[in-house]
């Protein structure tokens, strides 16, 4: 029975489903470590998902799809930076504004430019000689599209950037004590713009990983709140890339299990998986207060003097 449910396929889907969460939550981690809470993540993902889909739909080029997602995501990040860093607006509210904009705009453009639900042929899975052929392991780990590998590669890269580079030091300092960073000659504005633009780009890629790699369609509210779960995953992961990855895996494991259960036809209420986001969020809040990495200046706009 259990063997029917927990199969290699479940683990393979876990990895695949974790991808958009990883992109979005790693970008969010960077932004939050610099002291900016971006609640607009879901809206950014939707915009990235739509433009990637549209570019592929029109041109058939997957590369152009990815570039579109990167540009649109970056622009959304820039907008968030302008509102929350330059205009010093309340971050929670500006994030919600960005979300609503992304939600509405992506739907509007979809209705105007495409109209009817269609599919595109998305990014194919990569066949890795030998590795992909290993029984079970190959199926779980080495049978995915390129974005999956990129997302997981970003985990150590992000850790390295945060802990071993001057930029990472500036990010951490700006998130913990922007006055001190400023007094030491670090431009709080530049650092926060940079983290938010990178975060936007990653959110755009998160969207693309849905619309042109995972499900290859676009529809209204395609993300269905995944961006918000990604925000919770940052708290859950204690603002550390590895913690965020563990959270994303745990969460998508639950998702994958739920899919499998419905396939196998076991009688477990679907409310079970519907509850998962809330449970994760609650866990996140419990863990969050314990993390040493929590940025003290999170949500606080910086003003000199």
């Amino acid at each position: 029975m259990i063997g029917n449910i927990i199969t290699a396929s479940v683990f393979a889907s876990m990895i695949r489903l974790a991808t958009p969460y990883l992109f979005a939550a790693l970008g969010e981690t960077l932004g939050q470590r610099s002291g900016v809470l971006n609640l607009g993540l879901d809206g950014m993902m939707l915009m990235g998902a739509f433009f990637a889909f549209y570019a592929v739909f029109i041109t058939g080029s997957l590369i152009l799809g990815l570039i579109a997602a990167i540009i649109v995501g970056g622009l959304m990040g820039l907008a968030m930076a302008f509102i929350s860093v330059t205009l010093k607006a309340e971050q929670g509210i500006s994030g919600i504004g960005i979300f609503l904009f992304g939600l509405g705009m992506s739907e509007l453009l979809f209705q105007q430019w495409i109209g009817t639900p269609t599919t595109v042929s998305g990014i194919p899975d990569v066949y890795i000689p030998i590795l992909s052929d290993i029984p079970v392991i190959g199926h779980i780990f080495f049978n995915h599209n390129i974005l999956v590998y990129v997302a997981f590669a970003l985990v150590p890269i992000m850790t390295l950037v945060l802990n071993k580079t001057n930029f990472g030091l500036m990010v951490r300092a700006v998130g913990q004590n922007p006055e001190a960073a400023d007094a030491m000659g670090v431009s709080v504005t530049k650092v926060r713009y940079t983290t938010l633009i990178i975060g936007g780009i990653l959110a755009g890629l998160a969207g693309a990983s849905l619309s042109i790699a995972q499900i290859n369609v676009f529809q209204q509210n395609l993300t269905a709140g995944q961006g918000f779960i990604a925000v919770a995953l940052v708290y859950f992961g204690g603002w550390k890339p590895r913690g965020v990855m563990l959270g994303a895996l745990l969460f998508s494991f639950v998702n994958a299990l739920q899919l499998q259960i419905s396939v196998v036809g076991v009688n477990i209420p679907s409310e079970f998986s519907a509850m998962a986001p809330y449970i994760i969020t609650l866990l996140a809040l419990v863990f969050a207060s314990k993390s040493r990495e929590k940025p003290d200046a999170l949500t606080k706009p910086f003003e000199r003097g």
């Binding site: 071993k164 580079t165 001057n166 930029f167 990472g168 030091l169 500036m170 951490r172 300092a173 913990q176 004590n177 006055e179 001190a180 960073a181 400023d182 007094a183 030491m184 000659g185 670090v186 431009s187 940079t194 040493r292 990495e293 000199r304 003097g305």
Partner: protein, 512 residues
């Protein structure tokens, strides 16, 4: 000459600020200030709180831009638009509040801002090497790998200084560096500053403690209410003339204290122990009597149980053992409210946290404890605004509190004025026992003098007063008896006539 790690740029030989004006909404913070400092000298900026010292220096460090006037370095006009540009020009600043990221290590905090290009890798090893070279030179022990929050305040300050030197500061601004230090640490700081002066650094020292200013300065510029009162060489300076320049009127530095007329025992502690926030016995088996009409000073290096002592008496901290009585009535374990009604008044150490509610107005803060009582409230329900306003205006007048109105939020008042308000509130109740914890810390001379006079007047009326202070001068000036605390115990009791400063210092350091 100290070699700087960063560049071979020309050293700052002479820095001039000319005709500097800075306005904030409703405040002229600096009015046509001229200030110069040379390599190899300590030029002190002296002035009461709010005189404009920090503002002037923040303009030098690029945090604010002057509205008028110019800054010249070695004769050439310099525009300093950000801290980054200040650092590049060879200017460093130790701020009133340290500029650290507490969770980062010493080396990381030093690395911060050193390279602002986004691409480069951190090289903490090199920084640690540079730091140890500097700490050898100045004979300071610093572990570069320890997180800042684990360091004591004095050590943090040393890291600030080393960091500034490491970043190539020829000119170092120290904004009230001694405010957070013990007397021993002040001596250490002055040793470092003397060495820096010999090395040819230009130093700007900010303080309002006169004996320190006289001990370290070459020249002294006095500011008052944003204006420059004068500049004198240290040879011409005395405590008296400096105080007068600061306050703008003659100031009493030595009080005439009438002979002690001891009443009955008002406050008695019998073998009291209490835990500190860290969980150890912060107060260990303390017995003490304070008589009416007497001021008992509590001396000691900060963190040796003074705070716990004040808090147990005020009912803010539970006691583990022993009894506390006020006028013979056992009050151990009573609430702060109950203490109030028994006639215990408390001037807390952290006045912004325990003394007032920052967001409340002057009037609201004044009735904080008595708000439910007649005449401020009718039947404990409705606040009686006219009565409150009258009482408030009276207090503002009596205590010379400088505030635009009774409805001003308390947080926009200066420290001295807030303290006067706390005092007004606490003394209005005609207390039997007054606990004054650091009553003049961060308070300017004029206000300190006023607060001292009020405490002495309270002594005259027969109140039993416990004065807790890290300022030995204050303790000596006011106390009839001095007790010294060390590691939670009372290690010495000295009568006013027997006070010997060396002996006190030794007891404070735990040598007895």
């Amino acid at each position: 000459m100290a070699e700087t790690v960063l560049t071979n740029k020309r050293r700052i030989e002479l820095l001039e600020m000319r005709g500097i004006v800075k306005r904030f909404p409703g405040v002229l913070a600096c009015d046509q200030i001229d200030f110069t400092v040379k390599s190899g000298e300590v030029h002190t900026l002296l002035g009461e709180n709010g005189a404009g010292k920090s503002t002037l220096m923040k303009m030098l460090y690029g945090l604010y831009q002057p509205d008028e006037g110019e800054i010249r370095i070695n004769g050439k006009v310099a525009s300093i638009r950000s801290p980054q540009e200040a650092i590049q020009s060879g200017i460093g600043m130790i701020h009133q509040h340290f500029m650290f990221v507490p969770s980062l290590t010493v080396a990381e905090n030093v690395a911060l801002g050193l390279k602002t290009s986004f691409g480069s890798m951190l090289d903490l090893k090199e920084i640690s090497k540079g730091l140890s070279a500097l700490s050898d030179r100045y004979n300071l022990k610093i572990d570069p790998d320890i997180p800042i929050w684990q360091l004591a305040v004095g050590e943090q300050q040393r890291v600030e200084i080393l960091r500034a030197i490491y970043k190539g500061a020829d000119l170092l601004i120290l904004d009230e560096p001694t405010a957070v230090l013990t007397p021993q640490e002040v001596d250490d700081l002055f040793r470092i500053l003397n060495q820096m002066r010999q090395d040819g650094h230009a130093l700007i020292f900010i303080s309002h403690k006169l004996h320190e200013v006289l001990a370290i300065s070459n020249r002294i510029t006095v500011l008052r209410d944003g204006a420059q009162v004068g500049m004198i060489d240290v040879e011409e300076a005395t405590k008296q003339n400096l105080a007068e320049m600061m306050v703008g009127r003659p100031v009493v530095l030595q009080y005439d204290i009438p002979p002690l007329e001891r009443g009955s025992v008002r406050l008695e502690l019998n073998q009291v122990s209490a835990r500190s926030n860290r969980g150890n016995l912060g107060l260990n088996d303390v017995s003490l009597s304070v008589y009416g009409g007497e001021i008992v000073g509590v001396a000691g290096v900060s963190g040796n149980g003074q705070q716990e002592l004040a808090q147990v008496i005020a009912g803010l901290r539970p006691i583990e053992a022993g009894t506390i009585t006020v006028n013979g009535q056992n009050i151990s374990g009573k609430s702060p409210e109950k203490m109030n009604s028994l006639g215990v008044s408390y001037i807390p150490e952290e006045r912004m946290v325990d003394g007032v509610i920052k967001e409340f107005t002057v009037a609201e803060n004044l009735i904080l404890q008595d708000h439910w009582r007649e005449p401020f409230a009718n039947n404990g329900l409705m606040l009686n605004f006219n009565v409150i306003q009258d009482a408030c205006r009276q207090a503002i007048k009596d205590y010379e509190i400088k505030t635009p109105s009774t409805e001003t939020p308390i947080k926009s008042l200066s420290g001295g004025n807030i303290q006067k308000l706390v005092l007004a509130r606490e003394l209005a109740r005609n207390p039997q026992v007054l606990i004054a914890a650091q009553p003049t810390r961060g308070v300017d001379i004029g206000a300190s003098e006023y607060i001292h006079q009020r405490i002495l007047a309270e002594r005259e009326t027969g109140t039993a007063i416990l004065l807790i202070s890290e300022d030995l001068d204050e303790i000596r000036a006011l106390s009839d008896r001095i007790i010294v605390m060390f590691e939670g115990r009372i290690v010495g009791i000295v009568e006013r006539k027997d006070v010997n400063i060396q002996a006190l210092g030794a007891m404070m350091a735990g040598v007895h």
